[in-house]
């Protein structure tokens, strides 16, 4: 049951994340939903089991997210544009048809990863035993 709910939440998170460009949603909300999926896993299974399935440090996920988000901003400096400028391309992909690809998505992915990393780190931090 948890596994099904987990995938529903994950899918919803990705859906929210992708719709964010023109509709309500985006990296922050998507990241929150994604992290709620992980928190659910932590609640259902114990921390050790989940860690075996996700062998990465969520602090680093957060750091990588910030790096990605700030990095896309810095990238526009290389092209002689203002900091945080974004571009989009219309590309004809085989299956999806005409698709809009934007650097905004990379930035948003950074935001989503940051939120995911921070929220999970906080939850794990609270759950830790302190003597």
């Amino acid at each position: 049951m948890t596994k099904i709910v987990f995938f529903i939440i994950l899918t919803f998170g990705v859906e929210l994340f992708l719709s964010g460009h023109n509709n309500p949603g985006g990296g922050f909300i998507g990241g929150l939903v994604l992290s709620s999926a992980f928190v659910l896993l932590y609640l259902v299974y114990d921390i050790e089991t989940v860690h075996r399935g996700t062998p990465f440090d969520f602090k680093r996920v957060a750091a990588f997210g910030v790096f990605l988000a700030v990095g896309t901003g810095m990238l526009s400096l290389l092209f002689g544009e203002s900091f945080l400028s974004q571009t989009t391309w219309l590309v004809d992909l085989p299956v999806f048809g005409e698709t809009e690809l934007g650097t905004m998505t990379i930035f948003e992915a950074g935001v989503a990863l940051t939120v995911l990393g921070v929220v999970v780190t906080i939850i794990l931090g609270i759950s830790e035993d302190v003597e």
Partner: protein
Amino acid sequence: MNNILVLPMILPVLVGVMLVFLRPYIRVQRILSVLTTIASAAVAAYCLQHIHLNGIMRLDFGDWLPPHGILFVGDSFAMLLVLVACVVSSIILLYAFATTGIETEVMFFYPFFLFLVAGVNGSFLTGDLFNLFVCFEVMLLASYVLLTLGGRKTQLKEGMTYVLINVLASWFFLLGIAYVYGVLGTLNMAHIAVRVAETGQGPLLTLIAIIFLIVFSLKAGLLLYFWLPGSYSAPPIAVAALFGALLTKVGIYALYRMFTLIFIHDPVIYKIIGVLAGVTMIAGCLGAIAYSDIRQIVSYNVIISVGFVLTGLAVATNTAFQGASYYLIHDMVSKALLFLLAGTVVYLTGRSKFNEISGLIRNYPLVGWLFFLTMLAISGIPPFSGFIGKVYIGLGVIETGSYVLLAVSFLSSIGVLYSLLRIFLNSFWGETIISEDDHKPFQKTIGLPLVLLAILVVGLGIGAELLSPYIEDAANALTNPEQYIRAVMGDNLE
């Protein structure tokens, strides 16, 4: 478009994030972090010269023109503070290398140090009220971590007070921002200034102005400083020096920005600031004289100087603004030095009450003479860095005829001198309490940052002439808010 303007904030963020991945490599972390702050200082110096030649710089993020997008605005006042903040934090980093233990360093000490610098620089540079809030939060979150890192009991106790006070202040800040947006429909600071001038600063806007006054007074330690002495004496020495040098200055900067650019039409507010500044100086002096804990005395000295700098805002003349710019720069450098010296004394002797220590100058002559020099500089004795700022603020106060404020602010200098002289006479003179066996060696790595800061203190006093063109730019930008507004809104105003 001046992308370079964003570097003093983005470089520390970017490098700080990278350091998270380099967690086990402390040496690499140290080198990268000090290089970053030096590079930011170099960028700030370049920008300062650029502003001097070509006027105020502006960067619209993602080319969204004001008032729609967020933006960074670099005027001389902000850029001078960015420059000094970067230089001072580089030197404090050197001290942190020598004194911070490996177990603290590995807990992301340097990333958070850099995030704090990023937040401070961002707060100085931003031209958008909500962005100012965000940069404040970046700075504060980093400071929460640095304050409690190590987890000693006093740190956690003072950390609790500090976090609660700042969360409350941030909530008020947000409230004020919501009011401004509700009343004026914009958050761009220059645009707010234009709209306030258009509609006139009625009772409603003055009320909002007072909310901001309360918020920034809490952050700067203007009268609402009750949280400050405790939380500035709890953390490790290097962190305390960073706090003492930078954090209150951001609050002071925000007060200056608010009340020289936006809410400038109601003279009552300046009277309130004047009264607050006077009371702050008196209360700060009482605190500095009342305590015998060296770190407490040093923290109260921060409060006195907050009151003194805001005297300049209360009278709001060009001369006073020049003095305030000088004094802010001096205060960042000399407070960093004072905190480091006080911390060094406590570290070397293992005691924190000045009447339990004596004869230090025999064992550690360098620390003793540097303390003497800092004391002279902070009390405003020429030729050191505090003198010129005090003279100009004093001249500004005389121009407006606020003689009570003048008397209070110069008597406060005597209070500063007395409180530090007591430490000097008791702790450095007399019979030494340190026996041959207890003598802790004084490492060169601790001495170097102290000497560098002392050179700055002397240099700022003697080389004040070199700085004066930039100081004049800063004071002119503060006296003529039209400059700032034109630089931001120039394209869309007419």
